[in-house]
Amino acid sequence: MNLTLKVWKQKNSATQGSFETYQVKNISSEMSFLEMFDVLNEQLIEEDKDPIAFDHDCREGICGMCSMYIDGRPHGPWSQNTTCQLHMRAYKDGDTIVVEPWRANAFPVLKDLIVDRQAFDRIIQAGGYISVNTGNAQDANNLPIEKAKADEAFASAACIGCGACVAACKNSSAMLFTSAKVTQLSLLPQGEPERKSRVLDMITQMDKEGFGACTNTGACEAVCPKGISISNIARLNKEYIRAGLIV
């Protein structure tokens, strides 16, 4: 199929960008969206033009690097899917596709479609961990965990830190991401010792990074490639209230 692409081009974070229009030809419906970009970039290199910079790593939907805002939706038209797992059979000959970077002041554009998502790392560093001595892992059966809780913690742990939630949110809020980590650790005994300081510190860091507050619109949940539920956000709110007002 032949397609028209309108892609955001921006030299670096200090300059202003604009949309460039490209034509790609003979795209197979079996290619992934990123492979289509590879074809385009080969073509641009041969024409001695600047290829489009985009993030990617695993290309199997688990690393969360492939941030692209495609036709108004993070990670494109398929639900619970990453850009790397989006395939060209989603499109038909003659389509025009608009590709933009994540837009949030906390995620500055570095080049073209690549944004700096280190703000997420700093939120995790603020409390998204457990402090344990290293050494031999203890026997797993020493810490019995109710099945329902283990499942719920696992569902929250599925977050890949891609940032689609921030990109979709009208407030550029990082609450879905932050709440997934808080929920996971608050459900497990290993998370118990740092339970209060974790939620307080992570929210302080989240606010400091310049993410917005949550209006509970649900846009994050709708675009999350891992189906993280906004119930995590309500649980974070409870953890936050518990951590100070209630002893």
Binding site: K6, F19, Y69, D71, G72, R73, P74, V98, E100, R103, A104, N105, A106, A168, K170, N171, S172, S173, M175, L200, I203, T204, M206, D207, G210, F211, G212, A213, C214, T215, N216, T217, G218, A219, C220, A222, V223, S229, I230, S231, N232, I233, A234, R235, L236, N237, K238, E239, Y240, I241, R242, A243, G244, L245
Partner: protein, 233 residues
């Protein structure tokens, strides 16, 4: 959470919104219930006595002060949230996600709130200000059989406001519709902000929110309509 964080952190601010929002929801139910006394069709006796009661006990007057503090907090905090949230994305998208991820009214809480605020100003100057401050239109007290108390004839004030005044009726209906959409989202959202995370309860609260809103808002809309069409007089 410290008291300071309650007002400056993103999560704390939402706790304030949720608490004040739910208080307003509770007030609205009482307000609708009392106003429904106009349908007794008894020359306003039941309604005027109920209004008199609300204005004359220490408890209700104290609650009234609480209500004013609550609504001011809600308005100030609401606009602050709306402004700071908007400032977090300086460069917008070319193509919007729009309704694919969320309901339009959940993204329009500040706009709906502004419509409510305009309506509230009109509403207070119609009834609250005459009742408590200027007494305009309430010069003649109302007496009922077997009772020496002189009542403010709020009932008459209300009838006069909507009788033959289609514009006032329309303003009230628009205000009520804005409030309905504010609550379609706000009712369940407030509980989420306060930490209700169990999906079973969230579903229940969403349904309860729709039910509450439809009943209360329809009751309010029927009041000016009943007067305008002369169903009560």
């Amino acid at each position: 959470m410290t008291w300071k964080q309650l007002f400056i952190s993103s999560v704390g601010k939402k706790v304030v919104m949720g608490l004040t929002g739910i208080s307003l929801v509770a007030f609205l139910l009482v307000h609708a219930g009392l106003n429904a006394c106009i349908w007794a069709n008894d020359d306003g006796q039941m309604f005027n006595k109920a209004a008199h009661f609300m204005g004359s006990t220490v408890i209700t007057r104290t609650l009234e002060i609480g209500l004013f503090i609550g609504i001011i907090l809600h308005i100030v905090q609401g606009y602050m949230l709306a402004a700071t949230n908007k400032a977090k994305r300086s460069i917008g998208y070319n193509v919007q996600l729009g309704n694919r991820g969320s309901k339009w009214y959940s993204r329009s809480m500040a706009l709906l709130g502004s419509l409510i605020l305009i309506f509230l100003a009109i509403h207070l100057s119609d009834f609250f200000i005459p009742s408590r401050i200027t007494h305009a239109g309430l010069e003649t007290p109302k007496f009922y059989d077997g009772d020496t108390t002189a009542y403010h004839d709020m009932y008459r004030l209300m009838i006069n406001r909507f009788q033959d005044n289609i514009l006032a009726v329309i303003i009230y209906i628009v205000g009520c519709i804005a409030l309905a959409y504010h609550l379609f989202h706000g009712f369940q959202s407030a509980f989420r902000s306060l930490g209700v995370h169990n999906k079973k309860y969230n579903q229940l609260l969403t349904s309860l929110g729709y039910g509450y809103t439809v009943v209360v808002i329809l009751a309010f809309i029927m009041m000016p309509l009943s007067i305008f069409f002369g169903w009560i007089s």
